[in-house]
Every structure is written in structure tokens, then in C-alpha cells.
């Protein structure tokens, strides 16, 4: 029976062109109507290191980058040896046979060697080490029975704008590689069922976060480069002229968030993006946003900690940092998007919540979610922009009370330049006009009143956020609890477990502060519970226990920096039920 999906791994060193090879393959899949998910495992080096890109493509929605590999493209001898152990029986290795001479004893049983004599293939075209990637990719397109014209179009679009001559060389390489593969390599029984009339958008989580912010009417994005958040900056600056957004790289993350708070105070929707270390520097100003009731959206794309930790690896270790960010108590929201599509929608929602309640909203992504590429379904562009109540003029004799005590805790905002609304926003505790109460004498009555006003917002936020939802059979033998980027891999594992007659359901939590309603009820009715988190201490598990008193029975924690594989979850569940 032919296979309808394929897992491909490209292994090499930094500087070998893995990312662009992956991007080209992603575009080929996109324009062949295939679904795709690609994950790049890399290190903090510009040259060298051990890098691989794993792509999984097929006719159905892809939920993870998979376990074992069908096709390995090895770009150097070391990567050949390191990765060949992950190739399935029936799979194959494509490699440049001019550079790599495999030891037949070290090739696992059932794995086919597909040597590509690159020099011979390219003898009439030209020599450039990076062209071996194009040879391998065109060979793969042939082996997967995809339309080579789609690859030609992708290469034309990629080089067309830059260099005509380079594009023409690559087109010749594609033809040569494709023909070589057709005449010399065995057939593999893949039918990915391409549909060349469908184009599937392929984007990373960071692109989706950026795209969402553009839809949300964000006009000011500020950041300091930090993996894995930097590509939000790159995406937004590339769109800046079209979107009309000021995208500013500042001197450090302290400046980043203070600038964004300044811009928001002046009336524009503002966002910042960083990872855990930069987020730590932003901490004090998150409290400033809370205290001055200035809306702001903060993205923390988590990477392995502590300290600079694992700069290019994924983790969900910053939940407590986000919860505890800044001194004192103030209202805030923490959202953890689960998928690429959810990154898009969560950003729009974050801006609306920030504006409606005049609070900081933190979006917790992670390296895997932020950086992996995935094909998505349709996006709904009909979202509304809710800016909350804004004062456009004050003609009355009464002074404007920026922090007026209200039932909801939300006071109508005015932007500088609005007649009759001059006021002070203050980091120090203040009264309803914004005048400081900390210096002359600390008025405890006002302090209590203004604290109650601000904190009152939390009740209304909690009511507005959707309740937690259990997915799958209510009477399952086990409930898996998860948050953030693990949503899809947990789903894939559950599908496989269900096919093996295991009854498992899923509680995925998106809103962490305030913690979604309904969690305790769901968990209390579960037969058994397992929490899956990419951190050491089980931060969500602790949060649930703190907020609901419910103790989750079993845990699967992972902090090696790599995202979960479906098999890791399946193995754990099979141990339990």
C-alpha cells in the first residue's frame, strides 16, 4: 500500500543552506496542496554545529514533525552517520557520493542508499557546493512523484527578484537532478495525493503572531533581537511600509517596553516581543503598564532556561516568570496560543483585551511554536478591533479623571492632544486624577480605593474569557492536560492511542491568568489525569493546584530542549492505562 505522508530530514551544519532548502520544499508542498509541518533543530552558531530540519508532508493535516524518517538528506559524512539510525526500514538516504562514502556495515537493515554523484550530475552546469541541495531536493521531488514544474516555479520566485543567472543555473540543476533520479534511483511507493489547484499557506508561529498584530491594527512594534522571537521583528519590518507600523529595534529590552508603553499612552496599539531573558528585563515595566493602566501586548517566546540556557531550544519554563512578572498586584492576562492559527487569533484577542481592560497582556509562545513552519487552513479576517471606551473631548468644567472609579474598574481613556483631558499617568500610587499620593502623605483610603478599582477588572476579564473545554470522550480512562505548543502533538498521540483502543481525552488550557473557568470540574470528573509540560517542575500543574486545589496524578515533563514526539506521549500513556 502506498504511503500518503512522508517524513524528510535534512541534516548538515550551519551554513549548509538547510533552512532555504526546507523553505523551498515547504513552498513546493504549499503549491501542491499538501499539508506540511517542519521543525528546525539547530544551535547557536552561524557555521558548523549539528543541524537538522525535519519536514513531514501529506494529504491530511500534519500535527507533529513525526517520529522516524522516510528520507534522510545528509549533507556531510558526520550527519550521515548521526541521522541514519532514525531512518525507518523501507526508507532511504540521499547523499552526495562525491563527499560521503558510507560504511555498508553501519547502514541499518532495510534502508536504501541513494547516492547522488553531484559532480557528475552537474558536469555541464557549474560547481558550487550549495547546488548539492538543489540536486537532492529535485531528486526528492522525483522520488515523491511531485510535479517538477512546481519546484521550477518556486525556484523562479525565489531567485527571480535577485539574480537571473543564479535562477537559470538552479533550473538546470533541477532538471539534471530530476532526470538522474528518474533513471538511476529505485521507486518508492509514495502517493501524497497532491492537488495542484490548492495553495496552502505555510507560516511559522512568529509570522502568525506578526500577521495577527497587523490585523489587530498594531502600529508600534519594538524589540531587541533575541532567539526565538527575532523573526517577529523581521516579519513586521518587512511589512512595515504596507502595514504602516513603526517597527523599532531599541538598545535593550528595558527601552523596548518603555517605548511601547509611551507609544500606547500616546494612543497607538503597541506590542513587544522577546524571550525569557529579555522578558526578565521588561519585568519592572510590565508593572508600570499595570499601574498606569496602559494597554500593551508582550510576546515571550520561551526557550530553554535558566539564564541564557538553551538559546535555540524549546521549553515551557517561563510560566511562573510571567505570572510573577513585576512587584505588587495588578491586573493582567496571560494567554498561551496552541497552534499557528491560534497565534494569529490570540494576538488579535490580546490587543482587544489589553485595550478593553487597559492592562498588559502576555502571550507565551515557545521556540517550537514560534519557529516551526506549518500549513494552515483558512484564516478568518473578520475580527473586530475593540479599543474600549475613549474620550474624544471634554468640554465640561470638570477636570478629566483619567482613573475615575468605576464599577468595572475600567476608566475611559484619553490620548494626549484631546481637549480638556490633560492628566498625569503615574508609576507612583495616585488618585483618580492621576495625582501622586505617595509623596506628601500616603492616603490609605485612596490607596485602597484605587487598588480595588484596578483589581476589579480581573473579575470581568475572568467572566469574559471562555471556559475550559474537554475534548474527546467524557468517560475516558485518562485525561491529558497540556498548554501551549503541545496541543497538536498531544492530539496526534491521542488519535493513535484511540486506534489502539485506549480511551483518552484532552484538556488544553489557553488562558493561564486568569486561569480559565471549569478546570476543577473537568478534572474532578476524570478517571485519571496526566499533565504534559516542557519544563522541569510542572509549572502549570502547580498553578492548577494553587488555583483549584486539584492535584494531577501523573506527569510527563521534558526539558531536553526538543519538542515532544508523539511516541513519547504514547509510551507514557501505555504505561498508565
Amino acid at each position: 500500500m502506498s504511503k500518503h505522508e512522508v517524513v524528510i530530514r535534512v541534516g548538515g551544519a550551519a551554513g549548509d543552506g538547510i533552512a532555504s532548502t526546507g523553505e523551498a520544499f515547504a513552498k513546493i508542498c504549499s503549491r501542491s496542496g499538501l499539508h506540511l509541518l517542519a521543525y528546525n533543530s539547530y544551535q547557536s552558531v552561524i557555521r558548523g554545529g549539528f543541524i537538522y530540519l525535519q519536514l513531514r508532508a501529506g494529504r491530511d493535516k500534519i500535527l507533529s514533525h513525526g517520529n522516524k524518517v522516510d528520507f534522510l538528506i545528509a549533507l556531510n559524512p558526520l550527519e550521515f552517520q548521526r541521522n541514519i539510525v532514525d531512518v525507518v526500514s523501507g526508507g532511504a538516504v540521499l547523499y552526495n557520493s562525491d563527499k560521503i562514502k558510507p560504511d555498508p556495515d553501519k547502514v541499518p537493515k532495510g534502508v536504501t542508499l541513494c547516492p547522488l554523484p553531484v559532480n557528475e550530475i552537474l558536469k555541464d552546469i557549474g560547481r558550487n557546493p550549495i547546488l548539492q541541495n538543489t540536486v537532492a531536493l529535485s531528486s526528492l521531488v522525483q522520488l515523491l512523484d511531485l510535479d517538477v514544474n512546481v519546484m521550477n516555479a518556486v525556484i523562479r520566485d525565489y531567485f527571480g527578484k535577485k539574480k537571473q543567472s543564479v535562477m537559470e543555473i538552479n533550473l538546470k540543476v533541477i532538471e539534471a537532478g530530476y532526470e538522474y533520479s528518474k533513471s538511476n534511483l529505485p521507486d518508492f511507493d509514495f502517493d501524497l495525493n497532491p492537488d495542484y489547484n490548492t495553495k496552502r499557506p505555510v507560516l511559522t508561529g512568529n509570522q502568525a503572531l506578526g500577521f495577527g498584530s497587523i490585523l489587530a491594527g498594531c502600529k508600534f512594534y519594538c524589540a531587541y533581537p533575541m532567539t526565538p522571537a527575532s523573526s517577529i521583528l523581521h516579519y513586521l519590518i518587512a511589512q512595515s511600509k504596507k502595514s504602516g507600523m513603526v517597527v523599532k529595534q531599541a538598545e535593550d529590552e528595558i527601552s523596548v517596553i518603555n517605548m511601547a508603553i509611551g507609544a500606547s499612552f500616546a494612543g497607538v496599539r503597541s506590542m513587544v516581543g522577546t524571550s525569557g531573558g529579555g522578558f526578565a528585563l521588561m519585568t519592572e515595566a510590565i508593572g508600570l503598564a499595570g499601574q498606569t493602566e496602559t494597554p500593551i501586548v508582550i510576546i515571550n517566546s520561551m526557550r530553554g532556561g535558566p539564564s541564557t540556557g538553551l538559546p535555540t531550544k524549546t521549553e515551557q519554563g517561563d510560566l511562573f516568570q510571567a505570572i510573577g512578572a513585576s512587584q505588587g498586584d495588578f491586573p493582567k492576562v496571560i494567554i498561551a496560543p496552541s497552534t499557528i492559527e491560534d497565534c494569529f487569533y490570540s494576538t488579535i484577542e490580546a490587543f482587544n483585551l489589553a485595550d478593553q481592560f487597559q492592562i498588559p497582556v502576555i502571550i507565551l509562545s515557545d521556540l517550537f511554536l514560534s519557529e516551526h513552519m506549518e500549513s494552515i487552513g483558512n484564516l478568518d479576517f473578520n475580527s473586530t478591533i475593540e479599543r474600549g471606551e475613549i474620550v474624544t473631548s471634554n468640554d465640561s468644567d470638570k477636570l478629566y479623571r483619567r482613573f475615575q472609579y468605576t464599577d468595572t474598574g475600567v476608566s475611559p481613556r484619553a490620548f494626549p492632544g484631546t481637549s480638556g483631558t490633560v492628566f498625569q499617568a503615574s508609576s507612583d500610587e495616585h488618585d483618580d486624577y492621576g495625582n501622586i499620593i505617595s509623596d506628601v502623605f500616603t492616603d490609605s483610603e485612596i490607596r485602597i480605593k484605587i487598588m480595588l478599582k484596578r483589581m476589579r477588572k480581573m473579575k470581568f476579564i475572568a467572566e469574559q474569557l471562555p471556559a475550559a473545554k474537554l475534548e474527546g470522550p467524557a468517560d475516558a480512562d485518562l485525561t491529558i492536560v497540556s498548554w501551549g505548543s503541545t496541543y497538536n502533538v498531544v492530539h496526534e498521540a491521542i488519535q493513535i492511542l484511540q486506534n489502539n483502543s485506549k480511551s483518552v481525552n484532552h484538556l488544553h488550557i489557553k488562558y493561564l491568568i486568569p486561569l480559565q473557568k471549569g478546570i476543577k470540574e473537568i478534572l474532578s470528573n476524570s478517571k485519571d489525569t496526566l499533565i504534559i509540560e516542557a519544563n522541569y517542575t510542572g509549572q502549570l500543574s502547580k498553578l492548577i493546584s494553587m488555583e483549584t486545589g486539584f492535584q494531577i496524578n501523573h506527569t510527563l515533563f521534558k526539558y531536553d530542549g526538543e519538542p515532544f514526539y508523539p511516541n513519547q506521549i504514547i509510551d507514557k500513556v501505555e504505561d498508565l492505562i
Binding site: S30, V256, N258, M259, G262, Q424, D439
Partner: protein, 291 residues
């Protein structure tokens, strides 16, 4: 047409300053009131940001929007406000600890941008609000609460720093010469680009060395000399005068490109006036780029 003269009173807020009697910051406050009145800038088009410290309370005493932020972060707030609404007159204020200590990085980088804001630093060479510790502009050897054996660091030279960092209006005022100070602030506000007004603003409570009299014995005005404000090297040389003679006035002034004027995304006018639905209009086009 009869134009109603703008009165100073219009720029005073309801709040009475809490500074010690004799504090140099009173003259700065008056300078800000006077400059705004002379330039007839509407209160509702002025935003003053501040950090933390005695001097950072100044915005509350001016009838203008105020953002009283975190210690050392007055400039990033001001940068953000200006980028969001270039129609506003944006002033950042603070003290020497705030601007030349904890916020020094922002000082240098804001000047590199030559963004069109005015930064007024009330420099008293001591930490006042925290009751008398050494500041980044305290003299080497100064005995303070935190340096009982004398300070072992040399002071930051804010004027020299401004000159090498790209500020295009670099000036110093003295609270003991309030008329000169008001004019210096007024000209700073009129300048297109980053303007620094470093004010020698004596702390009458915690700095018993750099007193009004100490400054009076040394201060002279650059405007009374043949100082060429276009000459960066001459300005640099003046910035090193301190021990016996201390210049006040404008050291350097230049007409250079500003960040806010050149930012591509600001070419259609202030951000705050731009439509919110741009994203919706270009959404399909943006999605297409992902295929």
C-alpha cells in the same frame, strides 16, 4: 486681530511642588512654564515624561500631560510618545542619577536617533530623594552617605557625552540664572532634533559643596563669549571646562536629519491618526506571500 497674551499661570498645575525651599528645580519648573508660555504651545499638545527622583516630580507641576514612569526610563517613554504622535511637543525630564546613571544607555541611544524631543536634566551631583548618596556626576573624592571614604570614580561628563553621541542641541543652564535658563529651554523646545538642557540645579539639603555660591564663582555664559555653536571641536573643548570656570548656554547646535522625520512608516503623518483597518485591507495580500 488682538492676540491674548499667554500667561504663565496657564501652564501651572494645581499641585504645589514638594521640593525643599531653595531647591534648584524651582527655577527649572519656572523655565518650563516660561518657555511653553512664550512659545504659546497649547497645554494639551505637550507631554512631559519623567523618571524617579526629586526632579522627576516636575511634570506633575506643569499643566500638560505627564508620564511619571520608572527610574531611568524617562527617555524611552518620551521616544515612544514622539513616535506615536509627532504632533506633540515631548519633553523628558529627570535627574543626574536617573539620566546619567541608571538610564545612561537610553541617553546615548536617544541622542544617536536625533529624535525631536527635549531632555532636561536637573543635575545636582547627588542622590536627593534617597537621602544623599553619590551620583554619576559627583566629584571624585566626594564624601557622601555611600562613599564615606570619598568617591573613587570620576564624574560622567554629560555635555561631552552628548556631543559625541549625536545630540544636535547641547546646552547647560544654571538655576541661579533663571532668565538665561528659560531662554535656553525655550530654544531647546524650538530646536528640531534631540536637545539636551543639562541644568546645574543645586541640592540645598545633601550637596554642601556644589552650592549656588560655588557655581556663581565659576559660571559664565557662552553667549557672552565668541563661541561658535556650529563648531563641534570648540564645543568639545568647552565641555571640559569645569574646575575654575564653568560655561553655561549653548555649546553646540546643528541642523541634522531627525529619526521621526525620516522614519518610513511616519510619512503619512502621526501614527495615532492612521486608520486601524489597514491590516484588514491587505490581509489577503499578506496571506498570499505565505504560499
Amino acid at each position: 486681530m488682538v492676540v491674548e497674551p499667554v500667561k504663565l499661570e496657564a501652564y501651572k498645575s494645581e499641585i504645589t511642588p514638594t521640593w525643599c525651599p531653595g531647591c534648584g528645580d524651582f527655577a527649572v519648573l519656572r523655565g518650563v512654564h516660561t518657555a511653553l508660555a512664550r512659545l504659546k504651545i497649547k497645554s494639551e499638545n505637550v507631554v512631559i515624561s519623567a523618571g524617579i527622583g526629586c526632579s522627576s516630580n516636575l511634570p506633575g507641576f506643569v499643566n500638560a500631560y505627564a508620564f511619571h514612569g520608572l527610574h531611568g526610563r524617562s527617555l524611552p517613554i518620551a521616544n515612544g510618545i514622539k513616535l506615536a504622535n509627532t504632533d506633540l511637543t515631548v519633553i523628558a525630564t529627570g535627574g543626574d542619577g536617573d539620566g546619567y546613571g541608571i538610564g545612561l544607555g537610553h541617553f546615548i541611544h536617544s541622542m544617536r536617533r536625533n529624535i525631536n524631543i527635549t531632555y532636561i536634566v536637573m543635575n545636582n551631583q547627588i542622590y536627593g530623594l534617597t537621602t544623599g548618596q553619590a551620583s554619576p556626576t559627583s566629584e571624585r573624592g566626594m564624601v557622601t552617605k555611600s562613599t564615606p571614604s570619598g568617591l573613587l570614580e570620576v564624574p560622567v561628563n554629560p555635555i561631552a557625552l552628548a556631543l559625541i553621541s549625536g545630540a544636535t542641541y547641547v546646552s547647560r543652564g544654571f538655576s541661579g540664572n533663571p532668565d538665561h535658563l528659560s531662554t535656553t529651554i525655550e530654544n531647546a523646545l524650538s530646536h528640531k532634533g534631540f536637545s539636551l538642557v543639562d541644568v546645574l540645579s543645586p541640592c540645598v539639603t545633601y550637596n554642601k559643596i556644589q552650592t549656588y555660591q560655588w557655581f556663581r564663582d565659576r559660571v559664565y555664559t557662552l553667549e557672552d563669549e565668541e563661541h561658535d555653536t556650529n563648531d563641534l571641536k570648540q564645543a568639545m573643548s568647552k565641555s571640559y571646562e569645569w574646575e575654575s570656570k564653568i560655561p553655561i548656554g549653548v555649546f553646540y547646535k546643528a541642523d541634522k536629519p531627525t529619526y521621526d522625520a525620516d522614519e518610513p512608516a511616519l510619512q503619512d503623518g502621526p501614527l495615532v491618526n492612521q486608520p486601524l483597518d489597514t491590516g484588514k485591507r491587505i490581509a489577503e495580500q499578506l496571506l498570499e506571500e505565505f504560499t
